[in-house]
């Protein structure tokens, strides 16, 4: 019996020895564990991640927002926006989740980077150029969300008014100014102040916005740069408008189609190609934008020229429409028709309403295809400002609604949550 038991146990015992001596650990080279990012050597890559996340957020929001704001017309198959046919059907819109998801990731990544770097660097964070840049991008990500999303949802919380993002951005831009100045990065500090001016305008802090704007040199420009490692890193306004692969957008039927024909304004160029007359949808004439000439063409996030328009809007809100018109026209004075070389015609106005029209047109031209227009339209509609702009009465919303995934995963939102409706909406 003993021999039998020995014989029985021998192979199993051998296996147990092997089991005990075997390394049961796992390895997975590739993904980086979270704690590794706390190492100062990894911080530049953390902040590069902030820029990359912002790239993907800006890309998605800019091309959806541009279509919703009538900066161009849908002409192709990629992520077509379909507005609800019946006004009662508000719970679901066929807008992909990507703009919401990517823009929120951009915000979270930037804010997490600030938290991580501050914890890792301690007192040195207050003069770190990396912290300054992360704060700056946190501000821009919040501005992107505030200008384009219908409502603000933070950390899976309950929906708030979209202006919550502007409040957050104002604080982040303010901190970025201080850290950038201490770090010896004046360009970042100037960009932060310009960013702060733009969100203060949305918050109705006109005097503060104008004061910030006045501090920015006219020639200043802070631009976001793109990459080439993946199509997701391209400038998507260029990518989806171009002949390969999508031809998904065209300026046909927009204000900019006729405006460029009439003025040759160098800020709103587009082209036609007799060899490729139609967009991917054969019923859409293909007139692609050429503001962005290649896949890495940068997008301006803040500029001295935008600051002039902020100052103009601030004084216009105070009723001084002549001063506002003068500021608006100051931007046109130095520009020439790209075809004729003639100076651009100046806007004329004989009333406050006409001055508003000039301002609204000029902001649309100056900030064309920079993911800014939807926020402008909503601000002016909500404030019931006078003057003319694009007819948006067929847009059920002047913003991107809360994504389906947010509704499906966040009990503080829920499937039945109704997004705010464009007060001018009169049916599609």
């Amino acid at each position: 019996m003993r021999n039998r038991i020995h014989s029985f146990g021998l192979p199993v015992a051998g296996l147990m020895v092997a089991l005990a001596g075997c390394d049961l650990s796992v390895s997975n080279p590739g993904p980086v564990q979270d704690e590794f990012l706390n190492d100062p050597g990894a911080h530049p890559a953390v902040v590069a991640g902030v820029r990359l996340a912002f790239t993907e957020g800006l890309n998605m929001v800019s091309f959806f927002g541009a279509e919703a704001a009538k900066e161009y017309t849908q002409g192709g198959r990629i992520h077509p926006i379909k507005l609800p046919v019946k006004p009662g059907q508000l719970a679901f819109e066929d807008i992909p989740d990507a703009p919401w998801n990517n823009a929120h990731r951009a915000r979270w990544v930037a804010e997490d980077a600030v938290r991580r770097l501050e914890e890792s660097l301690g007192g040195d964070a207050a003069k770190s150029p990396l912290v300054a840049e992360a704060l700056l991008y946190a501000g821009y990500a919040n501005r992107l969300l505030g200008e384009n999303m219908c409502e603000a949802v933070l950390e899976a919380g309950a929906p708030q008014k979209h202006t919550a993002h502007f409040t957050r951005a104002e604080e982040q831009f303010t901190r970025a100014m201080a850290v950038a100045a201490a770090a010896g990065k004046p360009d970042l500090a100037t960009a932060a102040q310009a960013g702060r001016a733009s969100v203060r305008l949305h918050l109705g802090k006109n005097a503060e916005a104008a004061a910030d704007a006045a501090a920015i040199p006219l020639g200043f420009r802070f631009q976001h740069r793109f990459g080439t490692s993946s199509t997701n890193h391209y400038n998507w306004i260029w990518y989806i408008s171009s002949n390969t692969p999508y031809r998904a957008h065209s300026v046909v039927g927009t204000f900019f189609e006729q405006y460029f024909v009439e003025t040759g304004d160098p800020r709103t160029p587009w082209k036609s190609d007799p060899a490729v007359p139609n967009a991917e949808f054969a019923w859409v004439k293909w007139l692609p934008q050429t503001k962005y000439a290649d896949r890495t063409a940068p997008v301006t996030l803040s500029s001295g020229r935008e600051m002039v328009l902020i100052r103009a809007e601030a004084v216009l809100r105070q009723g001084d429409w002549r001063a506002a018109l003068e500021l608006v026209n100051s931007l046109r004075a130095g520009l020439k028709n790209v075809r004729t070389g003639e100076p651009l015609p100046l806007w004329t106005a004989s009333s406050e309403a006409e001055a508003w029209t000039a301002l609204k047109r000029e902001r649309g031209i100056e900030l064309w295809l920079e993911a800014r227009r939807l926020g402008d339209l909503r601000r002016w509609v909500e404030a019931k400002t006078p003057g003319e702009m694009e007819d948006v009465s067929d847009r059920i919303r002047l913003c991107i609604p809360i994504a389906n995934r947010e509704r499906q995963t966040n009990p503080n939102v829920g499937l039945d949550h109704a997004d705010p409706i464009n007060p001018l909406f009169r049916g599609s």
Binding site: R4, I5, S7, F8, L10, P11, V12, G14, L15, M16, A18, L19, C22, L24, S25, V26, S27, N28, P29, G30, P31, Q33, D34, L37, A45, A48, G49, L52, T55, R77, P80, K82, V85, Q89, F92, D94, D97, N101, H104, R105, W108, V109, V153, L154, E155, A156, G227, T228, S229, H233, P245, E280, F281, A282, R405, E406, Q408, T409, N410, L415
Partner: protein
């Protein structure tokens, strides 16, 4: 699709040898397979070699060496839901990538080439030691290596990527296993025996993936990745070791009553710190009731059985860890959130009750096997989507709650005719399956909902489908499960004089739903609308119907369901339809050769046709309901018809000669 679909031909050759010398036995088998696909540029070659050697070293020690080698090479036509896909561009023409449906333009897509080689080597060495009649031990070392190499070339000037593009993918997987098991039989008198078994297993698996892509070829001609202007490389790798052991005892009383009790313990470092080794007990019993004295012989044979046991499923090795992905962005490394991680993640645990019987009646002319099963899974592993505002856009594997799964499996076979010259068998199978999520642990998820099947399809359901009015929607409604809830198989075999055998096999699957992306996209983008909407377009041309609210004078002839789907701006989430189908899978005729070939033992000729007839639910609008997205795990159930070519009808003629 005619210019790009064809009647494809193929041939397959098999040769096998078996024999032995003294204490050595061998079996060698090889096959060559060469066939074209139904898409114009599809072709494949497959070669395989299998050997089994057994060697009786001594009276108590023997060895077995098994090996298998497979080489599979194929070239594929651009296909699927991709810019370069022939099917994709044909169905959307002229609103496609080229803006044309002309054969010459579509053919430009064929300049893209995809060549792939798959290789697999399996080796197994088993040592048996049986020192006594009642004692046996076995140790097996196994090695499994799979490799895939794929090379895609889009030449300079290619219509989709004019600058040209080359992609190379290398995937490798290696698994090394060590198994050991010993069994000891003990007798206690003439009526009672027990078999005690114990053993264990070690598994080491490694997987690696290298993907290289180059864009921007210098010009026409043949090039390599080194010639491209921009080059990108991705690499992933993973190595996991796991181990487990078991003990089991089988009690046998009178060869009529059987009881098995066992315990398996698995260890996996992926389980997380709080889990370690996981025990999975099981208990089963069977009873040959027909051996009882009271059982009349006329009732045939009957065995009753029941079992209850536990099994587990481990999360992935790195699901518990928060990770970031390193990306190349503008010349720098850039981190983006990848896996949210959950350090408390553990295995899910499923308890299963099984009862049933195996019976043989009417002198074995009727056989019946029946099983009822009920599974209850706790700490069920689901991929749970999180709010995007938390930064991580990927779903995270979580132990979220509880689900049940129950059903029956029935197999019947009846020998209708059992003559000397003619026999006729008819058989059938029925299986049902009903899953229900009973607890989500407070987690909110769109397709995993308490009281619903796992992976339920949801969307805008038309509540008045057959009314001749505009559709009314129930938003976020539950359509039903994405996997079949009932499967019925039927088969028959008729053996006629002269050795002629005719057989047929068919299958019905139903109770499930599929999201029909193909039809939806064609309805939205194609020039002619979805195929399944043709009956609508006969009344109102596709280009004229603008959707609900339209006042077309003939609209009163169109059902609400059709009005909801058959227009360009149809809601995507309304394109979910029942997916019931029946397929005649195969009809086969086998005939011995009428001519006796000298030097041969026997010769059979077999002719088979497959996939020649199909019935689908009338509300299924387009492709084959079996052409669906991947269903890799219960937590990521998807069920969507895609732009793929359905399994083609095929005719096979084979000759088998035995020497």
């Amino acid at each position: 699709m005619d210019p790009w679909l064809r009647n494809a031909h193929g041939q397959r050759h098999n040769l096998s040898l078996t024999g032995g010398i003294d204490r050595l036995r061998y079996f060698v088998s090889g096959s060559l397979d060469d066939r074209d696909g139904v898409l114009v540029d599809d072709e494949e070659d497959r070669r395989s070699l299998r050997t089994n050697l057994s060697f009786q070293a001594t009276e108590t020690v023997s060895f077995e060496l098994n090996s298998a080698f497979t080489n599979h090479e194929f070239a594929a036509t651009p296909n699927g839901n991709a810019l370069a896909s022939i099917l994709f561009n044909v169905y959307r023409a002229p609103n496609n990538f080229m803006g044309s449906g002309e054969e010459e333009d579509i053919n430009r897509l064929r300049e893209r080439t995809l060549d792939q080689t798959n290789e697999r080597v399996i080796l197994g060495l088993t040592g048996n030691w049986n020192p006594r009649e009642e004692l046996s031990s076995r140790v097996t070392v196994g090695y499994d290596r799979a490799a895939m190499d794929q090379y895609v070339v889009e030449p300079f000037g290619y219509v989709v990527t004019p600058e040209g593009r080359i992609q190379s993918v290398e995937w490798r997987s290696e698994t090394l296993t060590l198994d050991a098991v010993s069994s000891l039989q003990l007798g206690f008198g003439p009526s009672f025996r027990t078999t005690l078994s114990a053993g264990g297993q070690l598994v080491r698996s490694e997987e690696s993936l290298i993907e290289a892509e180059g864009r921007g070829l210098p010009g026409p001609g043949l090039h390599t990745l080194s010639s491209t202007a921009q080059r990108f490389v991705e690499e992933e790798g993973e190595r996991v070791n796991t181990g487990g052991f078991f003990v089991q005892s089988l009690f046998n009383f009178l060869d009529r009553y059987f009881l098995t009790a066992g315990l398996r313990v698995d260890g996996n470092s992926a389980f997380g710190e709080d889990f370690g080794l996981q025990p999975y007990p099981k208990l089963s019993a069977s009873y040959v009731v027909s051996d009882e004295p009271f059982w009349p012989d006329a009732f045939g044979q009957m065995k009753l059985r029941a079992a209850y046991g536990f099994a587990g499923r481990a999360p992935g090795a790195f699901d518990a860890v928060r990770t970031w992905g390193a990306n190349s962005f503008a010349g720098q490394t850039a981190f983006l959130p990848q896996n949210l991680g959950n350090p408390d993640l553990g295995p899910e645990r499923t308890g299963e009750l099984e009862v049933g019987f195996d019976g043989s009646f009417l002198n074995d002319r009727l056989t019946a096997d029946f099983t009822y099963y009920h599974q209850k899974t706790s700490d069920a592993l689901f991929n749970v989507a999180r709010s995007p505002t938390l930064g991580f856009t990927r779903s995270q594997l979580e132990n979220v709650g509880e689900l049940t799964n129950q059903g029956i499996e029935l197999a019947l076979n009846l020998g209708v005719v059992r003559g000397r010259a003619v026999t006729w068998d008819v058989g059938g199978t029925l299986s049902t399956n009903r899953s229900e999520i009973t607890d989500m642990g407070g987690i909110v998820n769109y397709t995993l909902v308490e009281g619903q099947p796992a992976g339920v399809l949801r969307g805008a359901k038309v509540t008045n489908p057959n009314a001749f009015e505009d559709p009314e929607y129930e938003i976020d409604a539950f359509f039903g499960p994405s996997t079949p809830t009932r499967t019925i198989g039927v088969n028959t075999s008729l053996q006629l004089p002269r050795g002629l055998i005719l057989s047929a096999r068919g299958e019905y699957q139903g109770g499930h739903y599929v999201t029909d992306f193909s039809s939806r996209l064609i309805a939205q983008r194609g020039p002619i609308g979805a195929v399944g909407c043709d009956h609508v377009y006969e009344v109102i041309p596709w280009s004229e119907y603008k959707g609900p609210g339209d006042t077309h004078p003939k609209l009163d002839q169109v059902r609400a369901q059709d009005r909801a789907l058959c227009y360009r701006r149809a809601r995507s989430d309304a394109w979910t339809t029942p997916a019931d189908f029946f397929k005649l899978r195969e009809i086969t005729a086998q005939l011995p050769s009428p001519v006796n070939i000298p030097g041969t033992g026997s010769t059979f000729v077999t002719a088979s046709v497959r996939n020649i007839w199909r019935w689908t639910n009338s509300d299924f609008y387009s492709f084959d309901p079996e052409v669906i997205g991947s269903r890799t795990q219960i937590s990521s159930l998807s069920s969507s018809a895609t732009d793929q070519i359905p399994p083609p009808a095929s005719v096979t003629l084979s000759v088998r000669v035995t020497f």
